[in-house]
Point group: C2
Chain length 254, copies 2
């Protein structure tokens, strides 16, 4: 825990963009107790029903949250990338209502709930930034309800690929609508509420239409404008303008 305080920097920069922090706030955040652990892909970070006493901050790699129905079907609820908290709601909710797993090998900083809660309630700026983080999370959930509830298979998949592209670029993890998709087609299917077989066909179709190019897990959105259209994608729900990121990825069309 000592000497690695700087590993928290990306998270602090992220929060600072959501709500400007003063130097004292930054120092408070840097002083947060935590321990860092490397987790192999697919390791559980939180289990549905747990009473967590830590919040998980992703330092590197990817993680996802999911729920499993009584029938055994899995629905992935969100995907997270470096510098994001994966279960910030546990700051105040005592029982976890879903599970969190590492998607790739990932480094996690575990921060005691209590410490994070005290910080959130004592500094208005930090509280505000963390709250906004949970509000943007919720906005993405809302968009996903629409995605699985009212879009057809092609739009659903295209929408997810668009969201990924923008979020990765905003986090500085990708450029030019080109990125490594860290998930199998089965995980993709559980994200958009389809079967893996169907996801495979939709991906092929998007390729044949010239909207994307694929090689293994790497995705390149060839025609952002048409892809945006195919996915009925409007980035407003990501609220990137809050972080001064609006237009960070202009693409080839309005």
């Amino acid at each position: 825990m000592r000497g690695d305080g700087s590993r928290l920097e990306p998270m602090i920069r992220r929060l600072d963009r959501l709500a400007p922090l003063r130097q004292a706030d930054r120092e408070t955040l840097l002083a947060l107790p935590h321990h860092i652990r490397a987790c192999p892909a697919s390791q559980y970070l939180v289990r549905d029903g747990d009473e967590p006493d830590q919040c998980c901050l992703l330092l590197s790699g990817f993680a996802y949250r999911h729920k499993v129905t009584g029938e055994g079907a899995r629905q992935i609820i969100s995907i997270h990338m470096a510098s994001e908290f994966v279960d910030l709601q546990n700051i105040f909710l005592d029982l976890s209502d879903h599970s969190v797993q590492a998607l790739t090998e990932a480094e996690i900083a575990f921060v005691p709930r209590r410490a994070l809660r005290d910080v959130a309630l004592s500094s208005p700026a930090i509280g505000r930034a963390l709250w906004i983080e949970t509000l943007i999370d919720a906005s993405i959930f809302r968009e996903w309800v629409v995605n699985v509830g009212r879009r057809d298979s092609r739009s659903r998949v295209a929408h997810l690929l668009c969201e990924f592209s923008l979020r990765l670029e905003a986090a500085g993890l990708a450029r030019d609508h080109c990125y490594e998709l860290p998930m199998t087609q089965e995980q993709l299917a559980d994200t958009v509420g389809l079967t893996p077989v169907h996801v495979n066909r939709v991906l092929r179709q998007l390729g044949e239409e010239g909207l994307i190019e694929r090689d293994r897990r790497s995705i390149r959105i060839v025609d952002w404008s048409r892809m945006r259209n195919a996915g009925d994608f409007n980035e407003r729900y990501l609220h990137h303008q809050l972080a001064g990121l609006a237009g960070a990825s202009p693409g080839q069309a309005p």
Copy 2:
């Protein structure tokens, strides 16, 4: 705005159960500037894309939030009942990412964003309670992603009817799993991602199976245990235990 301060009482009680408030906090909340208006059914309270300067607190009646896809399909994202804020995320998000409409005739207290924000940031207890309110909202969104993404039509509808029953009872608006469903079948369909025709058939089927009884819009869950099962319903995601409401509606089985 003067002399009707007591109309805010139910909301204050609600927040107090989420995070205990001191007398000073209660008075701060009672002193919140606001104006009250009666809205006819289907009136817009917020429009997608707005820059709202008020938050809407439901005093009576029901409201819902929704998004419309590029194809014109509507997805209802949440349903709200008396004493709930319908757009609390607007406290910090500057651009509304969805619309809010009155579902029935409703009375709304409009509270200036700025005032609510100041209160939330200056009193830790109030901030905490409001934050928790948004976190529970988000938990319900997550469950809805699962509902539309991974449950079949019968489970989806049953799940929604179960959720309604518990939330209404927790709010003191219903008893014995018996309530008026304030929505048309078309609205139900847009909530669970089905067509109105199919919702109609599923409702009939649930009736034939003896799980529910219907008369007009009134619903009675005859067999809570089987209904819970049909809807793959587990109330944990409602986080009612936070409000000391766990087991408020024991039903007929574990």
